[in-house]
């Protein structure tokens, strides 16, 4: 091949060569010699290992090449730093250099500048390694989270079990207390004077409060454990609400509050657990009365909900309202709004949490509207029993043209 063409090929491929004698002294250089060294003339007569630091310590390798025992030695991706701090990537290949008789006379040392590809490969390796590190970190974090979750679940189960046991143990002595108080109040063991009656009625009210608290605690633990079972029945909600209002009327009237019921006519029955529906509406009614001052107004509404297939119950009061900062936590366990503290209303902060859980177990929804100082309205929805299947189109009659 024409040496000029060979030179062109070597320049284009950025390949330099150096040929040594059997003593590893450089006798010839060529190709893209700037890859090899800064001043090609200074290379001649140099020892190859002195010129190529990567070959220091590779004496046996070079000896094997000179002996004809090693046909090729390659060092791919050798990094070199330039004086201005750039990184060059070089591929180094050492081959036996044979004379015309075919004997190994020295070493043919080839160096190719592969920096362009090297920089790309380095970036790829960098991205891959960083992703691997992230993946490992995520794996460790996931394991830690899983362990933390398992511990939290264990602690939660322990707490629920404790609360359940405590509530049962607290409830047990209440039965005889309530029973004997009722016996005394009924006069079964003799007449009572006014003072005795008054004291016993205080005890009776306190027992009822404690009973409600323990029942709520037990409900919370059952809800958390998924052990609440609903006995779903077709229920006339209008009749149910009338029963509840009759039960609460004495408490409401004791505060000179008015209690009205407005129910739409011809409403379909709801599908709900009657006892739990009473608990839900009773709790809302109790709250409305608690947080409304004497002489206030409470209104209960019953109508079809906007969402098809549901009935909507509303309990509106003109009481103290709920501050904005309390609204997002209203349904949290043990949360008591500022208004509860200010009005001195009793309660452990479990009622709305239980109410929401029970409503959602029915497939319904609970929400509220409120204005501080003006009052609040709570809404709950219950599914309608026997909801007819949806028609493909409207049921409006169309006249024939």
């Amino acid at each position: 091949m024409d040496p000029a063409i060979t030179r062109l090929i070597l320049q284009d491929l950025k390949i330099a060569y150096a040929i040594t004698d059997a003593n590893l002294e450089v006798v010839d250089v060529g190709g893209a010699v700037d890859v090899l060294c800064d001043e090609p003339e200074t290379c001649l007569g140099c020892s190859l290992p002195d010129m190529v630091p990567e070959l220091i310590g590779c004496e046996k390798v070079l000896a094997d090449i000179l002996d004809g025992d090693l046909p090729r030695f390659e060092l791919a991706w050798t990094n070199r730093e330039t004086a201005d701090g750039r990184t060059l990537y070089l591929t180094i290949v050492d081959l036996p250099y044979r004379d015309r008789t075919g004997c190994v006379a020295g070493i043919l040392h080839l160096v190719q500048d592969v920096t362009e590809m090297g920089l790309v490969d380095r970036q790829l390796a960098q991205n891959r390694n960083e992703l691997r590190l992230l993946r490992d970190q995520l794996t460790r974090q996931n394991l830690a989270l899983a362990a933390a979750n398992a511990e939290l679940r264990r602690l939660s189960e322990m707490k629920s079990a404790f609360v359940s046991v405590a509530a049962h143990e607290l409830r047990t002595p209440l039965a005889p207390i309530r029973g004997y108080v009722e016996v005394l109040l009924d006069g079964d063991v003799g007449p009572l004077n006014e003072e005795q009656r008054e004291y016993l009625e205080v005890v009776q009210r306190s027992v009822r409060r404690l009973r409600t608290l323990t029942d709520n605690l037990l409900d919370v633990t059952r809800i958390e454990a998924g052990r609440i079972e609903l006995l779903l029945q077709r229920t006339d909600l209008s009749a149910l609400i009338k029963t509840i209002t009759a039960e609460y009327r004495p408490h409401v009237e004791a505060k000179a509050q008015s209690l009205t019921l407005h129910a739409s006519s011809h409403l379909p029955p709801a599908l709900c657990d009657q006892a739990r529906a009473e608990q839900i509406i009773g709790n809302l009614l109790s709250n409305a009365s608690k947080y409304t001052p004497e002489g206030g107004q409470i209104a209960i509404g019953l109508e079809l909900a906007h969402k098809r297939g549901f009935l909507q119950v509303s309990v509106a009061d003109n009481g103290v309202g709920i501050p904005v900062e309390d609204q997002s936590k209203l349904f949290d366990r043990f949360f008591r709004a500022k208004s509860a503290v200010l009005t001195g209303a009793s309660g452990a902060g479990l009622g709305l949490h239980i109410t929401r859980s029970l409503v959602e177990l029915h497939g319904g929804r609970i929400w509220f509207e409120t204005e501080l100082g003006q009052g609040s309205t709570f809404y709950v929805t219950f599914p309608i029993a026997d909801v007819p299947a949806m028609n493909s189109g409207d049921s409006t009659a169309t006249a024939e043209v």
Binding site: P53, C58, E74, L75, N79, G118, R122, A125, D136
Partner: protein, 172 residues
């Protein structure tokens, strides 16, 4: 008269364990928190004076910092040829980087069976993230018949001691 010799040593270990950082700390007394992957091999040199069996020796350590990514597994054998010694590096904050040192040691021994080994358990400055204990590192080092050091390229802790120990093994 001081004898002057050159020996090739390799830094081996998984990616991002701190091989380049250990080399830079030993050779240039520099450290950077920025992680830049090494591809291929970078050769640096440092000369130390150590006591040999026949007197003081001026040893030039040609330190081969090998890329730890598995993409370069197939070219690693050529890098290891002629190595007189190696530093096996693991990362104390990544437990899987210790077990794979057996593979690297095996590769080295197949190409340079007489190479001397020292083990570096790096990043001891990251105390709150450690996944490996000194006992675990020691167990692996004993398996290699090699000394070990708990190092930090960031603070320089035990880095000089590590390389000097290897240097002494190379001149014996």
């Amino acid at each position: 008269m001081q004898k002057a010799i050159s020996k090739k040593i390799c830094l081996l270990g998984d990616f991002a364990v701190g091989k380049t950082s250990l080399m830079r700390r030993f050779v240039y007394d520099l450290f950077s928190d920025k992680y830049i992957s090494t591809i291929g091999v970078k050769v640096s040199r440092k000369t130390v004076v150590v006591a040999g069996t026949d007197g003081v020796v001026e040893l030039t350590m040609m330190i081969w910092d090998l890329g730890g990514s598995e993409e370069f597994d197939r070219v690693r054998a050529s890098y290891l040829r002629g190595a007189a010694g190696a530093v096996l590096v693991c990362d104390l904050t990544r437990s899987d980087t210790l077990a794979c040192l057996r593979t690297y040691a095996g590769e080295l021994r197949s190409v340079s069976p007489d190479a001397r080994l020292v083990l570096a358990a790096n990043k001891c400055d990251l105390a709150d993230r450690q996944q490996l204990t000194p006992a675990q590192v020691e167990a692996v080092a004993v398996g290699f018949g090699a000394p070990y050091y708990i190092t930090s390229a960031k603070t320089g802790d035990q880095v000089e001691a590590l390389f000097r120990h290897l240097a002494r093994l190379l001149v014996v």
